[in-house]
Amino acid sequence: METQAELENNDNNNNNSSSSLIGGGVRQQWPTIDGPLGLSENDSLWYARYFFIFGFLMLPLLWAVNCYLFWPVLIHSRSFPNLRPYVVRSAIAFAVFSAILGSWAVTFVVGGERLFGHTWDELVMYNVADKYGLTGWI
């Protein structure tokens, strides 16, 4: 399903070389991964910008979704000059955030009690859930 849409998208892009070539790349028409099913270039600016901005509210997944949604913008480096800065910055921010979060999580798992002492038991999720009875109310 997904690949088919992308193939169609690529077919679209390759067929759309009716527009002039810009800087060595083929001009794309559809900035989103859904191709013709997605947004047009004019509408996408709002999405790209606000996904980037709201990602700063501790929402790195929004940056990831931004990159996924505008994947053609990331891949084709000369296209969509107004969208590209936001998408590239989202990608970088997501990479940085996930590196930080990943390293914290791995430290937590690997370090265990040797590193944290008894606070490891206090921080680990299943103990926290037991302590506050979080699983009890379903």
Binding site: I33, P36, L59, V109, M125, I138
Partner: protein
């Protein structure tokens, strides 16, 4: 390279449409079966909470057959009554044009399901597998997951795959919750809901039929959670100026898609409303149907109440029993304006509940019920192509599924087990 793909036959495009709706249904059922087989190992935990679905009778495994039967019947009647009332309230709200309230309600229910129920199930899995994740990471991930899910449900132009994925996850979470109900109640509930669905969609006074007619008359969307399959694009990828309107209802197809030309599936009720819309497209590209966002199903969308839960606990006051009615689209299968098939989220949920319940007995019943449901869905799609109007998707599948479950459990199991034990066939 010459781009001249061979024209797709009707079988390919029709088959692809059907596959695109059966795949998410299967994935949802599969996930629920996995969750059920991991988490529901202790049967005793099922009767420990009270909800709207068990308000009339709390099942006890020591009751006699008739007691359980009557109790389950009462429970399901109460549930169907509540769902009917809520649907009529929804029709009333829609009639009074409180669409933004409904949309916010939908977002809130998505938040509730993803955040709380998703969190609970995440915690269950954590405890079961003893995953050593710390609370900050867990809460951050849950927060992200929930917020992006609410956005996916709310916003029309999110990536189709993301929206579809979130809808499947929402269906899975609600279905898992339903499998926690007692056994007899669940089965009676399924049967009762499919009969209700049949009545609500097809009878002239049924709430879902009223809703669909109202929405059609006004040419508006019903704000509800509907899964919409990605439409099959016709093989003419010429550049277009217009973006395919991801609109479902509002702009009926003005160009025939491949499906339409050949099989008339498309001309369903909606397209009878103004055939010309603002965005005229000259090519025969299928209209892009919006994969989501809960826009009108042609089917019967019902803001329903499958998830009504309150936990009566010593600490909670009665005032806190907020009946969280979720805007889950109950039954309803229909066609989007491009011919892409739309299936209400309630259908996902009840199919998965059936299969999940079957999984609590044995995997043999799972296979039988899965086949029954897919067969029922296929029959419903054929009927949809034939009648070209909104149809209830629950009755055929669920009744077939229940029938197969009973037959498997009563008749097939003895046969298969004996054969296997004696090393004859399987």
């Amino acid at each position: 390279m010459a781009q001249n793909p061979k024209p797709r036959s009707i079988i390919e495009s029709l088959g692809e449409e059907i596959v695109r709706i059966i795949t998410p249904v299967s994935i949802c059922m599969f996930l629920v079966v996995i969750l059920v087989s991991i988490l529901n190992n202790s049967e005793s935990s099922s009767a420990s909470f009270t909800t709207i679905a068990t308000i009339a009778y709390t099942e006890d495994s020591s009751d006699s057959f008739w007691d359980k039967f009557e109790g389950a019947l009462l429970n399901s009647l109460v549930f169907v009554a509540v769902v009917t009332v809520v649907t009529f309230v929804l029709v009333l709200l829609f009639y009074l044009r409180c669409t933004s309230f409904l949309k916010y309600y939908m977002g809130f229910s998505a938040f509730f399901v993803l955040g709380f129920m998703g969190g609970e199930i995440g915690l269950f899995l954590n405890q079961y597998f003893r995953i050593p994740v710390d609370c900050f990471t867990f809460l951050l991930v849950l927060f992200n997951f929930t917020v992006v899910g609410v956005l996916a449900v709310f916003m029309s132009k999110m990536a189709i795959f993301v929206t579809q994925g979130y809808l499947v996850v929402i269906g899975m979470l609600v279905a898992y919750w339903f499998t926690l109900l007692p056994e007899w109640t669940t089965w009676m509930l399924l049967v009762a809901m499919s009969l209700y669905d049949l009545a609500a969609v097809l009878l002239p006074g049924g709430p879902l039929r009223l809703l669909v007619e109202l929405a059609m008359a006004r040419d508006e969307d019903i704000p509800a959670l509907v899964y919409e399959a990605r439409p099959v694009l016709a093989n003419d990828p010429s550049p277009r100026d217009n973006v395919a309107q991801r609109r479902l209802w509002r702009e009926p197809r003005n160009v025939d898609s491949v499906i339409n030309e050949n099989s008339n599936i498309g001309s369903n009720v909606n397209s009878s409303v103004n055939p010309v819309s603002g965005l005229e497209s000259n090519q025969n590209e299928s209209r892009i149907v919006r994969a989501e966002e809960g826009q009108g199903s042609r089917g019967n969308s019902e803001l329903t109440a499958p998830l009504i839960e309150h936990r009566i606990n010593v600490q909670m006051h009665l005032a806190q029993q907020t009946v969280e009615t979720e805007n889950l689209v109950l039954e309803g299968i229909g066609l989007g304006s491009s011919g892409a098939i739309k299936l209400g989220l309630g259908d996902f949920i009840f199919y998965s509940v059936l299969v999940g319940r079957a999984a609590m007995y044995d995997f043999m019943t799972v296979y039988a019920c899965y086949l029954a449901i897919i067969a029922g869905l296929g029959i419903t799609l054929v009927l949809l192509a034939f009648y070209q109007k909104a149809l209830p998707a629950l009755p055929v599948s669920v009744l077939l599924g229940v029938l197969f479950y009973l037959l498997t459990r009563l008749l097939l199991e003895a046969f298969v087990v004996q054969c296997s034990v004696n090393l004859i066939m399987f």
